[in-house]
Symmetry: D2
Subunit: 408 residues, 4 copies
């Protein structure tokens, strides 16, 4: 057991940190100006394209993807880089082409796509020529149970016909999101986890209708394509658009979940670190009643508590990454659940306190804190609410506790 990153990781993480520090964060106001100037658009703003070019030139590109198409990093190696992108979640992940949901979609295409599917969709995604959406969650059913899916995918000759309604399809408001991966049932009568399939639906297929944008605490998340409700009204796509085979949808979703959850947690740590850095600066600079806020007991405690939580949870995230790398995602399920539960709520608490240190500025557009809060808050819901994961983790623990002979 030892706790130092290897040289590759340290070098890459340092490069990423310098880039975020010197290039990304200073341009955050530019992004805001461009968003304010064109309030009716959902596509990427020019600054994103510029940053992408610079990140790619700096060798900070597609680092999330293991194997030859990507940078070949392990989860453990990617972790500190992903964390750095969490410092500026509106810009850094897209700049590095490491933003959800594209990352998960690229993984799906990489692991399960046919060569033709990869050529048509994975390559432009890796090159950032298009974006994508993942259409899984549905209104009106508890999304924490994938077997509830109501969308149908029916075979009809050489085509499939997709019918249903999805929401919280992140990024789908962006007209550049050219391809949607849609989860639906091909066989509602199959055994529970063989009913679902995944299929590629081009945005411009007849019958695809982006109905409306959902907001998150008032934010439309326009900078990264928003969150759409999407109707699929008898959409016909070629049979070759099916990903893997009929009935493989649940397995693909599960495979997609592990990396998705750990990436979210890695970035969330970065958001927590940024909140702590902002809180620290404010506490050192702001004077009230004759002393800096940092010289007053309770804020000093908040700073200490934030540091302790970030350190211990980072270790749990890193160990989870290491387990995924060494024993596989499936055997790391308990740890993945643990970080999915523990990290977002800890970072939410840190953000809430950072807001409190900033006062009115903290809830406004003058700091990134309120928007970070909204983003982290959704992580406690996305992909199953905390309570579902706690119940599942608790059940596993109750079944398999470490045995020890009890005193009589």
């Amino acid at each position: 057991m030892h706790f130092a990153h290897d040289d590759t990781t340290r070098e890459l993480a340092e490069r990423a940190r310098t880039f975020v520090d010197d290039t990304v964060i200073p341009t955050e106001p530019v992004l805001q100006e461009q968003l304010d100037a064109t309030p009716d658009q959902w596509g990427f703003r020019p600054i994103v394209t510029q940053l992408r070019e610079r990140a790619r030139a700096a060798g900070l590109w597609n680092l999330f993807l293991p194997g030859e198409h990507g940078a070949g990093l392990t989860n453990l190696q990617y972790a500190p880089i992903a964390e750095v992108t969490g410092w500026s979640p509106r810009l850094a992940p897209v700049a590095f082409n490491c933003a959800a949901p594209d990352t998960g979609n690229m993984e799906v295409l990489h692991d399960f796509g046919t060569p033709a599917q990869q050529k048509q969709w994975l390559e432009p995604l890796l090159a950032a020529h298009i974006r994508s959406a993942f259409c899984m969650t549905e209104p009106d059913v508890a999304s924490s149970d994938a077997t509830n899916i109501g969308t149908r995918i029916r075979r009809d000759g050489d085509h499939y016909v997709v019918s249903g309604r999805k929401w919280w399809s992140t990024g789908a408001m962006n007209p550049d999101a050219a391809i949607f991966i849609v989860m639906g049932k091909t066989d509602p009568d199959a055994v529970r986890h063989r009913q679902q399939s995944m299929i590629l639906v081009p945005r411009d297929a007849p019958g695809v209708r982006v109905v409306r944008a959902l907001t998150v605490f008032g934010y439309d998340d326009r900078d990264h394509g928003g969150h759409a409700e999407v109707a699929f009204d008898d959409v016909r796509v070629p049979a070759a658009n099916l990903i893997a085979g009929e009935g493989d949808g649940f397995a693909i979703a599960q495979a997609r979940l592990g990396p998705g959850r750990i990436h979210h947690c890695m970035r969330a740590l970065g958001m927590g670190e940024r909140a702590l850095a902002l809180m620290t600066d404010r506490a050192n600079a702001r004077v009230a009643f004759g002393r800096t806020l940092g010289e007053q007991g309770v804020i000093r405690e908040w700073v200490a508590e934030a540091r302790i939580e970030l350190e211990s949870l980072r270790l749990l995230v890193l160990k989870t990454a290491w387990l995924m790398d060494t024993v596989g995602n499936r055997k790391a399920m308990t740890e993945i659940q643990a970080i999915k539960i523990a990290v977002p709520r800890a970072v939410q608490r840190i953000l809430d306190r950072a807001i409190q240190v900033f006062g009115a500025a903290g809830v406004s557009q003058d700091t990134p804190l309120a928007e970070l809060f909204a983003g982290v808050r959704t992580l406690r819901i996305a992909d199953g609410p905390d309570e579902v994961h706690l119940a599942s983790l608790g059940r596993a623990q109750l079944r398999s506790r470490v045995s020890i002979r009890a005193a009589e």
Copy 2:
């Protein structure tokens, strides 16, 4: 000691509840439609005017105001009515002409205004012909200390000249907000609490410049006039616009604070009750893993915890109201601080849990929860952050503890 409201209160509260239940809440979607249809406007929408007419006809008008100009209710009598308006904070308070900051401004004019000032500004406010703003908080100074005020009010012959910059002037984006009450220093060399004065500045006075709108999380609070940053560039107003005398500003602010805080807490209880009602309905209706959410342990506990907190904090608010009525606002300072600290954070926690019960819908525009959360979150900052009040209350407690002879 007894815990039943008097007949007047019960009758009025019941009438208010029926009105909110039957007339206000069902029109919330109408307000949203009108807001969506005119995204660039900050004024009241037609539905507000309609509701006001109906509320006035129902005898639910200016109930906040003690004395002859208002309904003559005590704080204790007004409390349950204010709570009911908290169920629909975008519409009910304005419908009843009981919305901040107009309430506080009307109180100031009522208690400290000259007959001329009252005729010019109080009467149209009581009739809801205009709205108003209160310009106190400034960027760049810790607003929890009123002595930090940087705005200057200088006598110049028959006029005063106001120079400074304010922010978080709630309602000031609304062009109907015709009058601003501005706090500034007339004599920076006077003793600490005699430096400040308050003055009436009409919106259309030359030099008044509404600079920008601030957001709360992602909400612009357009429905009630937003939150403005306002610049006063050497604004000249007649000397008769001064409220009370030079140096009275701090005392007026203090007088305004008590009712303001308790009104916020009363409404916050209503927000908490609505969250609990929504959470309850959802928990009863939503099925996951074969049982309703309400049949599952942890959400049942949340519901119970919410009920316990709302009951105990309501009693603390009511006792505070009773103290204000019987011994005066000044002697109720500890209790006012206590509810200012305790109520918003409890309601924030209830809202956070209600959101969790709703999942993704909870953070979106499809329930009122996220917007209520944002609103309640600001109460922990507005008018002094919790920590300032905790420190003050703790200090008072340390000085004056109940004496008891210690065991040796």
Copy 3:
């Protein structure tokens, strides 16, 4: 609605407070000396008898009991007196003859006893010539469900035969505890809540065996008769010892619970107040790093938080008392559950913080804090653990929420 106690209550509470302040608390060390000098005894020490005589002379006697046998106080009137006794829970309740479990047992005899039973047992209890125990909880069954009782009470001619095992019979280690009220099943085949009966079993009846003393966090609570495990091995008592009729046991238990719970909560508030007073004195006196602890942020916050919690929970207790007085214990069930849940845990937190302020002295015999902590900790378990009450309260809330028309 108003929040002032009546004159009788104020006068009595002031008298009780003076007595506890001047007479009881200063003798706490005397009790400890007497306990240390006779480590093998479970009976009352001389100081208790002396204090009782003085309390009786001061008119502070049997105040808990409504009606002619007692002081005729309502629950609301008794509340502040009971709170005062909580400042010194080892001595004040027994000094006033208001200590559990005698209070509950006297209520049972008062409300359900025959004249003969009252003459034989109630009168000496009211005169404090004997003490009593209540034998309800059993090892090995979840005591939160009274229908689980395993003890049998069988009719045999003119006698009943009691067989079973009880534990946590508080006070039963004291040889002066002359009478045990025992709950058992007379008819296991009856409907759920008609199976149980209560019967009077004299301590010296053949077959009664006090097996052992249980400890609470290392304390044997010797000062008030400890907590016994008691075996009833075919104990024969006259049929006239049955309280009320066969099958009435559950109803009597329920009737006993309401006052028992509220008395515990009232005293717990007093324990919280004493902890706060001790913490305050320590924080004012103790200097670390150049300033008193009270001048350092976090302890000042603890003091403020304790004050806020005690104030709001006291109001909830008082309202519950008022409801019991006006609509009856049954209709006050939700409130009784609420205080049963909320008060002990709040006071536990206050005690935990008070201990922290005292450091090592706080966990030792040099302050009363650790023992108060142990006592309050058991209240979260006694009479049903918090979780059972939260589930029950949550269920009631889910069934009966305040109706309001939801926005569509």
Copy 4:
């Protein structure tokens, strides 16, 4: 970075676990019987000696000590073994000769003792022929600041004369505790951290007086020698008893602290694991209202939360051990503080919940939970209360935050 223990560690930890599982825990009731049978004794009971022989034979002896005198393990290697001993803190640490305060005292003698001191005191300690005490904390001064020490050590020819009063000298009630390491001031006028020295005072030196035993909650901790108040009334010892030089006391204390704190945290994790195991068994076995406790939501959540906290905090402890091994105790100060704060309070919460799951049995002598609770509770005070460490850690964080260019 990787997260697997090396082979040596795995083998030793497994051996320790088997020993604790099969040999130590089943004899806990034997220890209790021996304690109950001889209530007036403070020395080790026969079972301890027997277990020591068996542990020594099993190669589980002095594992805490790095270097040739001990097992030569690093902190990282010792960590999982220490954790295992935490499962049975009354017996396992002494059985392995790894119990505080002997461990710290042996380290001091090992690192700073002269060969003569080592021969006289270290060797019998390593052989478990004697025990020892560490006399540092004093009544009436804030022990978190070592410069407050009031005890004096005055040179007088070939001797030193020690005068002062100590308390919380753990183990000192045991007559086998033959040697006391006493901290005192040799030069009150020196610079702050050169005033103190440490000296070896044999228990039987004239003037040494063990005044009384302190209790922790109601426990006297008789099984491991209790906690004594000790008076040193002009105790003369040879000058050769000084450890290192005059003025070295503070540095020795600091060197002793790091390992002491991490050992406590390691064992506390084991206590938390045992509580979780007990809670799990109880939740699986106990039926209430028709289902096991584990099938009811809230207890399942507690189990999950406990697992998450133990996992993340264990990683923080292990990383701290690794830092101590690789960069030294001084550079690991922040991490040592972090675990000192975070571990005990987490384990306290787990124990509190475990108690709740057990109900009345949980607070009694029938489970180890209440005593474990008392033990862990003191860790939040011993060696400086949490608040002192939080303030210190917060201050360090405020000074040295990771720099990042802020958005303007």
